[in-house]
Symmetry: C2
Subunit: 330 residues, 2 copies
């Protein structure tokens, strides 16, 4: 019987709890033992929740419980996620996360620590929501030298751009609609300024290149300056505009950026619309391969988190993570 | 130092040898040790090949060499592939394969044998060529109950259909062109009659359902009866026609078939053209996710085979395969 603690009972956290419960039987079959939720750490109490008995407010309860195999950090942001992750790994617990900000900033440190302790630090959910991309890059494409990754990595901006292109909605109005539908935060800067996409391409790039690529050195431009005139100009030339995160490796040099780009309507990424994400990978054996699906949302993101939990339980004491070094890219 | 034997020096086999050589350095980094080719089994001699010293004609040389960790079966067909695979597993060697006919027919037996011997029998290359689909289904989507798989699984027929739709080429002429370009065999039946797609959807279905789904019970219809009149009728209604392999699970009942289908032009699979494959998976957490890429060809297929070789070497004596039972689907 494997025991899991979920840190943060927000959208993703409640999705993880739901997937572990709904699919408990098939997960137990795949793992070879039941995987059950023991704690949910949150500041709030949730007296109405069926999971209220599992809520704790003190992280030390989780840390000091030897039954907890896997800590699932879905708080987001740097603190207290950083401290909790480090303490959990030091206490011999594997950690899985959907926290792209933390992985983009401190991935190298946690991967090293996990390796030293024969644990795992897995983060499939940090890029592309539920879309399998981290594992396929690390494992299924391991026979390739990866030459480029081009991704529509942010669903909010892709929804806005789709509204601008398909329905002629101006940027401000499309953003307001995205906020109404819950696709965009009240403070939408991380999405529309490309910060979220930058963290994600930094994670993919670090994974491929084997070094932590610093997000503050990646040229990043968002979509807030785009107008319907730009849309008309692009359309008349046979293009759409997508916010792309791009990683390229050329002669041992790595090049990364985030910016709105013109894409021909024949290009597979041009059909990735609404809140969907699409990630096109080019390897020297496989040529182009694309991964497409819901890049965010409660259950899709939880799907990736739970897959990593299963992987941790199936590989207790076997480090399966990648390693990337701290420091500058060449 | 891990040693590999490749059985069959045809298109895929020579691709595997090429990828192992070209990407030797990055593969060694990922594995933590070099992975080198020790033998190539073929009936022919290849006196001009730089690999002529590695050619052997007697499988027992490979079988009796304790240095060989992984046997890579890319002969295709049932015999002698079946006998070689069984002997290799019994001799304590993991086996990787691109042989969809053998996996669709005898997968259950080899998976059971591999499990008993703490070895691996991996077959990522048997479906979708280089496209990661077996591992993602088995691992990255393990938190889901998979409800359906809908796939364009055969590049040859997809090329023919694309020619018929985009260029108005009649079936017979499009088939002749596919043969000229090397996309179709001289005897094209396995492709155009849907037999190849049937094997592939049987493999995916068996993987999800956990039982070997017998190919001869899957209703299978090919594309040879399609005419340009059908194309015109589909087009006028806003559809394209694709040859789809379909797996659905409904109330514990499994349903599989292969047939040409109308797809709306808004559907993500409708944009999968030419020799590309696309596989749309629906899970109860992730919703829709699509995998897209080159479903055949020397290097893309080799990419998947080499990924499985790497996986075997990284997990010596750890069974990582799935298990599916022999016998009837419920």
């Amino acid at each position: 019987m494997a025991k899991v603690a979920v840190l943060g009972f927000g959208v993703v956290g409640s999705g993880v709890v739901e997937v572990l419960e709904t699919n408990a039987q098939s997960i137990a079959q795949k793992v070879g033992e039941p995987v059950s939720l023991k704690y949910i750490l949150d500041l709030r109490d949730f007296p109405e929740s069926p999971y209220r008995d599992k809520i704790v407010h003190d992280f030390d309860i989780i840390l000091n419980d030897p039954e907890v195999d896997v800590v699932c950090e879905v708080i987001g942001g740097v603190e207290p996620a950083y401290t909790f992750t480090k303490k959990a790994l030091l206490a011999g617990k594997s950690v899985v996360t959907s926290n792209k900000e933390l992985v983009a900033k401190h991935g190298a440190e946690f991967l090293k620590l996990a390796k030293e302790k024969d644990l795992n630090y897995l983060f499939e959910a940090s890029v592309g929501g539920g879309i399998p991309i981290i594992h396929p890059l690390h494992q299924c494409l391991a026979g390739n030298e990866i030459q480029s990754v081009i991704g529509i990595l942010n669903g909010t901006t892709n929804y806005i751009l789709t509204q601008m292109f398909q329905n002629g909605v101006p940027f401000d109005q499309a953003l307001a609609e995205a906020q109404e539908r819950g696709y965009a935060e009240r403070n939408p800067s991380a999405d529309i300024d490309g910060i979220d996409a930058c963290r994600k391409i930094a994670i993919l790039g670090s994974l491929i290149y084997g070094r932590q690529l610093p997000t503050d050195e990646i040229p990043t431009e968002g979509i807030s300056k785009l107008t319907l005139d730009d849309v008309a100009a692009a359309e008349s030339a046979g293009y759409v505009i997508k916010l792309l995160g791009v990683y390229r490796k050329l002669h041992k040099q790595v090049y990364c950026r985030v910016s709105p780009c013109l894409i021909s309507k024949n290009h597979p990424l041009s059909h990735v619309d609404d809140v969907f994400n699409g990630i096109l990978v080019n390897g020297n054996a496989i040529d182009d391969v694309m991964f497409y699906g819901r890049g965010a949302g409660k259950l899709p993101t939880a799907s990736a988190v739970v897959a990593d939990i299963i992987d941790c339980v199936k590989h207790r004491n076997v480090n399966r993570s990648v390693i990337w070094e701290d420091g500058e890219a060449g």
